[in-house]
Amino acid sequence: MSSAGTSNKPAPGHVSASGQLQQRRGLGDLIAKKPELVTLGLLIAICIAVAIANPAFLQPSTLIDIGRASVVTGLFALGVFVILAAGGIDVSFTAIAALTMYSITLLAINHAPNMPIYVVFLIAVAGGIALGVLNGFLVYTLRVPSLIVTIGTQYLFRGGLLAFVGTTWIMELPGQMGTFGRISLLEFETANGATVSLPVYFLILPAAAILTWWIMRRTLMGRAIFSLGGSPDVTARLGYNVKIVHLFVFGYAGALAGLAGIVHVTANRLANPFDLVGTEIAVIAAVVLGGARITGGTGSVIGTMLGVLLVVVVDNVLVMVGIPSTWQRVFVGAFILLAAAFFVTRQRKFKPAK
């Protein structure tokens, strides 16, 4: 209807919009749009370098070990990614994980030693959601940056756990929790007779990643989360219920943290309330290395997973490459800086001017 009247008139608007778009295609544009390509590149580069330094790196068990080691960090990272996308930041998720995993193990030991494993997971997720929602509620009602709120809740959760719940380690996990960590998905023997196995709990990570991807890409909630990260005021004005989005985002991250906590316990075969807290900054770094901006509104699930892999791989090859313990931290620090610098310069070169 409109086009009939206007299409044959010269329309400068057209020229500016599409002309500009054509200029910025090609590799640079691709990287600007898909920063996770940088992460992938880095990952491949590192693997090649390590393989050259020590060909022993190239064995199937490496892959399995790295996959296994990524689960807890990966679950945390997915939660962090969702929160970063919404323009927030969270440092309390490790405390949530510690609190839920320990309380639930205690609960199971004392009251329901034969609780089926799926109930354990359900309770962990529910507990994580409850604590996460508390975070979200505080961030929303106090209207302060979530970094601050979650520093507060981290102290609160961890202090509460150790002061009021307990500090003793639980070595003998109750019933199914103990066995779950040992069920393996696939198993094979290496030349020297060692068994390599991929535990079943590994599957939780890809499942959570796919769910997160679906929520972020295919539901209105996902769009609302990105909107909130892009412009909170506008999001509210456009009719998105910002409170619900806050509660959802932190609740979801809490759920993942609860899940990660239980995985950590079952994999480790002990519940140590001192565990996990202290690793949060490294997780955030992984997500940022996966292409999410700390300022919010960007990032992708695939990038996040690549970022996690990058961090886990670097952590798991230091001995392989033969870097002496004394120098390992220098190496990791320099790596983070180099990766970040590389990342930023690649991104910046192609960032649109406006």
Binding site: T6, P12, A17, M221, R223, A236, G239
Partner: protein, 515 residues
């Protein structure tokens, strides 16, 4: 509930609406009623409460007092989703687009959100979104390509963004479309198109509430005028029944005449000379002279390169090649401070994001450029002198507050603009580049700003006004350079040229190309 009984009956009513922000009483008892299929022009000077009343209708702010009546149902406040559900679509003054989402999502997601009454855990219907966006975008005359649809909004030029915001408002089946200053960064062509859109909406029995400071647009569109002054509605009636002078007087409570402000003439001395100024893809081989006491206008379509030229002179996005000399001395401009050191002041277009330190005091904003000069013994700031200067500037700029410790965020748009211009005058520049100096500024403040411009020219300053407000250029400039496709295509005399001349020059090559 047939169409007929609905038609021409008032469907939205505001009753005795008050709104207070802390100590600011922004609305003081507003009564309004809107009818379907009518166009309303909400007029008033900066800070009189236009945006606020709109935000109340849209559910973005709750009123402090009063009621909103929708189809006879009385509400004490609305949520955005209620408002959208009822069919009120808004183009906000700040556009309110989500910068990191694609054009398509910005335009068409609202529909699905409203349909689910705000429920968020729903799957997105991609095909439908595509369809809705395509329709709406073509209505505002944008070329709907897959690239455009998937472009992230923050990568678009301002003008396209504005069109996208309008497209979003008309994407849904609306009953009332509100547009808060939708034309500020549109070129005339795009404005023409918007006027088409408005009449089409009207013919579909949709009410339109239009806010603008450009009175000629209101007359062109026609309809009802609603005049606000100081948080109250002071007049209502068919717009044709008011003359420009009437409206100006109603808005300001004073009489303001339409006149050419430029009276003086420039001296013979060349102040600044630009030659072979180029930035590939943006502007090409631009050269001109600016004389002492001259007011030079630069205009062009949104993609003509005029903005980049201004930014290059200001050192923000320096030119790739070319020379610039001031008082016959060649200078190099690679950064903003080079340009400031050379005596060039640049008042940016987007005062909120590029100009002001909103949370900081008027004083700090005013002295931001002269901190080095204020530093005395051991680099310690002479606060007393600084405050004196800030007070002087405030007085010169006729700021309507004496308390320079107030945060700039507490000022209204026009006053903020004066703070910004005042800041640049603090360095006593030889050359002042004003980019869209009166964008979103009301008649009263405009008058004050124009008078300041002329006074500065008389004092021997060279001024460059980059603007697409043609009357503004004609009222103020000695010469007007028109740019097209990165080149200066025309150099017109401000006293004798007409709007039409400029317009022809702006479109020149595009029309040739199309012919």
């Amino acid at each position: 509930m047939t169409q007929n009984t609905q038609k021409n009956r008032c469907f939205l009513e505001l009753r005795n609406i008050h709104k207070r922000f802390g100590g600011v009483h922004a609305l003081r008892g507003v009564d309004l009623s809107l009818e379907a299929g009518e166009v309303y022009h909400l007029l008033g000077e900066n800070g009189c409460g236009k945006s606020t009343v709109i935000k109340i209708m849209a559910g973005a702010h709750p009123p402090s007092e009063g009621q909103i009546v929708l189809d006879g149902e009385v509400f004490n406040e609305l949520t955005p989703i209620q408002s959208l559900d009822f069919g009120i679509e808004t183009v906000y003054q700040d556009l309110s687009l989500i910068p990191n989402l694609s054009v398509m999502e910005n335009v068409a997601l609202g529909e699905q959100l409203v349909e689910g009454h705000g429920r968020l855990l729903r799957r997105i219907d991609g095909a439908r979104m595509q369809q809705t966006a395509t329709k709406a975008l073509s209505q505002v005359d944008l070329d709907v390509t897959p690239e455009l649809m998937s472009t992230i909004v923050s990568e678009l030029p301002l003008a396209t963004r504005q069109l996208v915001a309008i497209a979003r408002a008309i994407a849904c089946e609306a009953r009332l479309v509100i547009m808060d200053e939708p034309t500020t960064s549109l070129t005339r062509r795009e404005v023409e198109n918007l006027i088409d859109v408005v009449s089409r909406l009207r013919s579909q029995n949709v009410a339109v509430l239009f806010v603008t400071h450009k009175l000629e647009e209101c007359y062109r569109i026609g309809g009802h005028a609603i005049v606000f002054r100081d948080g109250q509605c002071v007049a209502q009636g068919p717009i044709e029944s008011y003359s420009r002078a009437d409206l100006a007087e109603l808005m300001t409570g004073r009489q303001i005449s339409e006149k050419r402000y430029r009276e003086g003439s420039p001296s013979e001395d060349t102040l600044m000379s630009l030659s072979n100024f180029s930035m590939p893809g943006r502007f090409n081989d631009v050269g001109f002279d600016l004389r002492k006491g001259e007011v030079l206008g630069i205009t062009g379509l949104s993609d003509s390169g005029r903005n980049e030229l201004a930014l290059a002179i200001a050192g923000i996005r320096p030119a790739a090649s070319g020379t610039i000399s001031i008082n016959d001395k060649n200078i190099r401009i690679a950064t903003a401070s080079d340009s400031i050191d050379a005596g060039i002041a640049y008042v940016p277009e987007d005062r909120l994001s590029e100009g002001l330190f909103l949370s900081k005091s008027i004083y700090q904003n005013e002295v931001a450029l002269i901190l080095r000069k204020l530093a005395g013994f051991m680099g310690i700031l002479d606060m007393k002198k600084g405050k004196e200067i800030a007070r002087e500037i405030s007085a010169d700029m006729r700021l309507n507050t004496a308390d320079i410790e107030l945060p700039v965020s507490s000022l209204s748009g026009g006053n903020q603009q004066r703070v910004l211009i005042g800041r640049w005058l603090s360095i006593n520049p030889e050359i002042l580049v004003l980019h869209g100096p009166t964008v979103g500024v009301d008649v009263g403040s405009k008058d004050a700003i124009y008078q300041t411009i002329q006074k500065m020219a008389e004092d021997g300053m060279g001024l460059i006004i980059v603007s697409d407000d043609l009357p503004e250029l004609l009222q103020n400039c000695d010469r007007i350079l028109v740019m097209n496709a990165g080149e200066v295509v025309s150099d017109l005399n401000g006293a004798s040229a007409s709007e039409d001349d400029i317009y022809q020059a702006m479109l020149g090559s595009v029309q040739e190309g199309a012919a």
